[in-house]
Symmetry: C2
Subunit: 327 residues, 2 copies
């Protein structure tokens, strides 16, 4: 009933356990004939190496720990990209969710107990000092949050440029008064606000920032405030797609037409934003590049090469149907 062990395979193939180990790691040191025989025996027994034992015995676990917010769609997209990137580089991923009832320190701790070689934190909310402390024991990489903490590597999108893209897109459509609804203290919010301000001023217009947040509810609240006392703007850029969704949802319950009366731009290009119905004009983060660079950075740290940090990935604008020239 219990699973086949390496010993079983070795016996069936008539070789030593060491050989079986070599074959299954496809390390050099076994003849093709032996290799085939071992593999055949393994297959017959339905053998699969025990991952726990493997990790224990190995000098390097090649296990990368990832914390993510189980409720953030963008994190879902990133996790998927990380799986591919990690696999391509010969690493394994251990996932640990952050949720309202499961705070970040707890999620991190569980990864540490698994002896992950490095920590990949998606939009971490931990303090810089807490992050630095973690970085003393193993590489720590923050994706999306631009922390300045000793020893912590950062891989992020150039959010200043991203906001600029959004603004420039609107400017090119003819908009001259544009509002930014920000992300509060969410990682990345400062940069996106700054990018907006810079681009607006550079064009010679006035910046208007309204406080917002990162959830659909935050976007909806912002829309209510907006509708209550409509500012004289023809376009809005929001912190992210989630907020944009909430915003749009509420606006559509008003007489305002999107995009005729108001253009709206999101951020992240999450799968939902892309879906045909929303058709949200948004700034795309390059998840593939973020993931690849993250794994590269982790690998560099783990092999002693000093990585370049922060790694800044350029975003792109994805024009869809929520933006148009002002009426």
């Amino acid at each position: 009933m219990s699973r086949a062990t390496m010993e079983d395979v070795a016996r069936l193939a008539g070789v030593s356990r060491a050989l079986v180990s070599i074959v299954y790691r496809d390390a050099p040191g076994a003849s093709d004939a032996t290799r085939a025989r071992v593999l055949a025996a393994g297959k017959e027994l339905g053998y699969r190496p025990d991952h726990r034992a493997r990790l224990l015995g190995r000098t390097r676990t090649r296990l990368l720990g990832v914390t993510f917010d189980v409720r953030a769609p963008f994190h879902g997209d990133l996790v998927e990209a990380l799986y591919s990137a990690a696999e391509a580089a010969g690493y394994d991923l251990a996932l640990s969710a952050v949720a309202p009832s499961r705070a970040e320190p707890r999620a991190v701790q569980s990864l540490l107990d698994y002896r992950c070689e490095a920590l990949i934190l998606l939009g971490p909310q931990l303090s810089p000092s807490a992050l630095s402390a973690l970085a003393e024991s193993q590489p720590v990489i923050s994706i999306g949050r631009n922390v300045r903490a000793a020893g912590v590597d950062v891989v992020r999108t150039d959010d200043v440029a991203g906001s600029r893209l959004a603004v420039e897109h609107l400017l090119s459509l003819g908009h001259t008064s544009i509002l930014h609804i920000d992300g509060g203290k969410t990682p990345g919010a400062t940069e996106r606000r700054t990018g907006y301000r810079k681009a607006i001023r550079h064009a010679g217009f006035e910046a208007h920032v309204q406080p917002g947040g990162r959830t659909e509810a935050d976007g909806a609240d912002a829309a209510k405030t907006f509708l209550n006392e409509p500012p004289p703007v023809t376009a809005v850029t929001l912190f992210n797609d989630r907020a944009a969704m909430g915003f749009l949802d509420t606006i559509r319950q008003s007489p305002l037409e999107i995009p005729a009366d108001l253009s709206v731009v999101g951020y992240d290009n999450t799968a939902i934003a892309a879906s045909s119905h929303l058709n949200l004009t948004t700034v795309a983060q390059n998840t593939t590049a973020l993931a690849t660079q993250t794994i590269t950075t982790a690998h560099a740290r783990l092999t002693g090469t000093p990585p370049t940090s922060p790694v800044v990935i350029p975003p792109t604008l994805v024009p869809r149907c929520t933006t148009a020239p002002p009426r």
Copy 2:
């Protein structure tokens, strides 16, 4: 630089490793004095037991593997609930994401390699025979999908009742012609369709089912079809909240007013549906109960008690702002 080991703690505390082990598992067999001394030594060294080694040595790993769709908000809610339930029962969770680029068999396999004691699959899409095969090696619990596969336990919401609740709510508001936009072949779709049909017929009205799906895009597509040739209905029940969101989004771009012209009911009560802006009337699955029962079932299987299966959890209706009496 490397982490402190049990040996280190033992040395510092002046005891044997076995004692340290006993203390850290808080197993009986150590005096309070020793316990305190060991704990103090451990704390000083920042010792944390190595989870891998722990799993390897133990007869029971108390590790439960969970597969979930990283893109499904409802799965996020469930995962969170599972963490709590598992912890309360002394189990640990290993997460494995299913995504477009990471099919279910792969996700499952990785859990198996970690020698999880049981498999918890959220809305599995695997064939009944594949599930049965898995169940031969360890307990398999399907949450949400009512599979009839030998050895596979099911914990699910009573979806027939859920759909009935939705219909009855609409009937009580005075609606007499109600459309159901279904979930295609998504787990649970059949039950929700059936519940709708039964409730409608029981009330003496005619059932209308339009094909749909489980994503926002599916809901939006359904809305387009709907608007193209508006059927003579005053209310719509959808397969889930995601589809309802897409549907609402598209409907709001038409002259139709929600809920004045059309009432809409979702399903799942995901965090997003609940958020103030959407205010979606929906059928709530009791994630806490689902999670608790799942862990209970797993525990029963693992300890030899034959569990009751399927476990069917009653849903509840959450009336919000997308339903009202017909005009």
